[in-house]
Amino acid sequence: MIPFRRAALAVARRELRRERRRGTVAWVTIPFGVVALLLVPLAVGTEQVLLRRIGPGLYWVVVLLFGVLVAVGDHDGRSQRDATALLGIDPVAELTGRALAATLLLLGFELATGVAAVVLYDLPVVGLPQLVVVMVLVAAGLGLLGTVAGAVAGAGPGAALVPLLVAPLAVPLLLGATQTLDGFVQGRSTISWILMMIVAVTVSAVVVVVAAAPLQEGR
């Protein structure tokens, strides 16, 4: 059996190499997210005051909805999964590696669409340390949830279910992200919201560990 850390890192590297070759996140999901940010003002109005008020919320909604597509990645076909099992990779290490890669890709997605939101909606960049913490927690939470949902839904027609499975469960992340940054701007304490996000990420990580074996068995 390959050691857990080595296996998880190898899986993460494999996923990132796949993304580098295919460029789905860089050339499809990120541009699509920016287009969504661009379309919203055409529907709700282009007044700067309005956009500055609703911009942060819109940004996090785009991160959640489009981030699911990043998080789920490409699900392995049966032969690929059989090969992974034959290599003796621990199912938990495999899902952990996938979640790690998804988290890194999501951070890139957040960064790219975040710059677009700041430019398009004229958003002030305040509370940088809080912003970084929130971005990392949202990326980790979505990465873990998307990985579990991808394994639950499987390849084929079930894969279309992933957004439906993840979006309702990611509500604590959306609430935490918007309320933390809003609280910082308003001068309120934001620790309870950050704690809620940490709990959500921890629960998601526990689910990955507990669910990995039954989800990956009989591959």
């Binding site: 839904a153 439906l164 309702p168 469960l169 689910v207």
Partner: protein, 246 residues
């Protein structure tokens, strides 16, 4: 070859008990007094609250079935989880719909961004996703395993939905029955509400039992069809016959 066994009908006794329980609950809901503030609208609560209670019960039973399947690998637990989730989604939808009908004359809107309402809607969609996942996976063992994971994950929402009215002080009233101190409701109304909960629970039991039986028959039928004698692949291809040379 396994043959599908004949369906078992629900015992007449259970059906009679369910009908009597529903009738008793309806009579009690009818004779209980109108509310001092809500007036006759309070009668919606005698269906809304039991429906919400059943949603909790159904999803907890789904959790039990899911854990049971992962531990024992017996399909009866998977069928229990499936049947309970289906009934639970129906009653969650009913609770939401009745709540909206009650809210329009009381709050002035069909929907408000109250924590309880929003979280209940989210719970509804999570279990709708659970049912969709079941439909999307054909192989029974894979379906049962994946659904069990989601059935366990989804139950996290029940305490969130129930305690949302305590944690976030929003428009929806706090718990009336399930709380540390005595129920905050008038005696006759409490009787009507408890009768409704009991009746709905009996109906739930009946529906889950029937749905499980149906799922067993579907599984038996699928197994019988799979074991039928069929021509092997390529049997239609025959060797060419060589004619006599002319």
């Amino acid at each position: 070859m396994s043959q599908p066994t004949a369906p078992s009908s629900p015992s007449r006794g259970r059906v009679v008990v369910a009908v009597l329980a529903v009738l008793a609950a309806a009579v009690l809901a009818g004779v209980s007094p109108a509310d001092a503030v809500q007036g006759e609208l309070v009668r919606i609560m005698y269906v809304h609250v039991p429906a919400a209670w059943l949603a909790y019960l159904a999803f907890v039973v789904t959790l039990v079935g899911s854990v049971g399947y992962l531990v024992t690998r017996r399909f009866v637990f998977d069928r229990l989880a499936e049947a309970s989730a289906e009934v639970g989604v129906y009653f969650t939808g009913l609770a939401i719909a009745l709540g909206m009908i009650w809210a329009k004359p009381t709050w002035g809107v069909w929907w408000t961004w109250d924590a309880r309402l929003t979280l209940t809607a989210i719970m509804f969609f999570v279990y709708l996703g659970y049912l969709a996942l079941r439909r999307a996976t054909a192989e029974p063992a894979v379906r049962a395993r994946r659904a069990a994971v989601l059935g366990i994950l989804g139950v996290v929402q029940i305490p969130l939905v129930h305690f949302s009215v305590v944690w976030w002080r929003t428009l929806h009233q706090p718990p009336t029955l399930i709380k540390p101190d005595k129920p905050s409701i008038e005696g006759t109304m409490l009787m009507a509400l408890l009768a409704g909960i009991a009746a709905f629970t009996v109906v739930y039991g009946l529906l889950v039992a029937r749905r499980m039986e149906l799922a067993r028959l579907e599984a038996d039928l699928a197994a019988a069809e799979a074991s039928l004698d069929r021509p092997v692949a390529g049997s239609a291809v025959t060797a060419p016959e060589l004619g006599e040379a002319r």
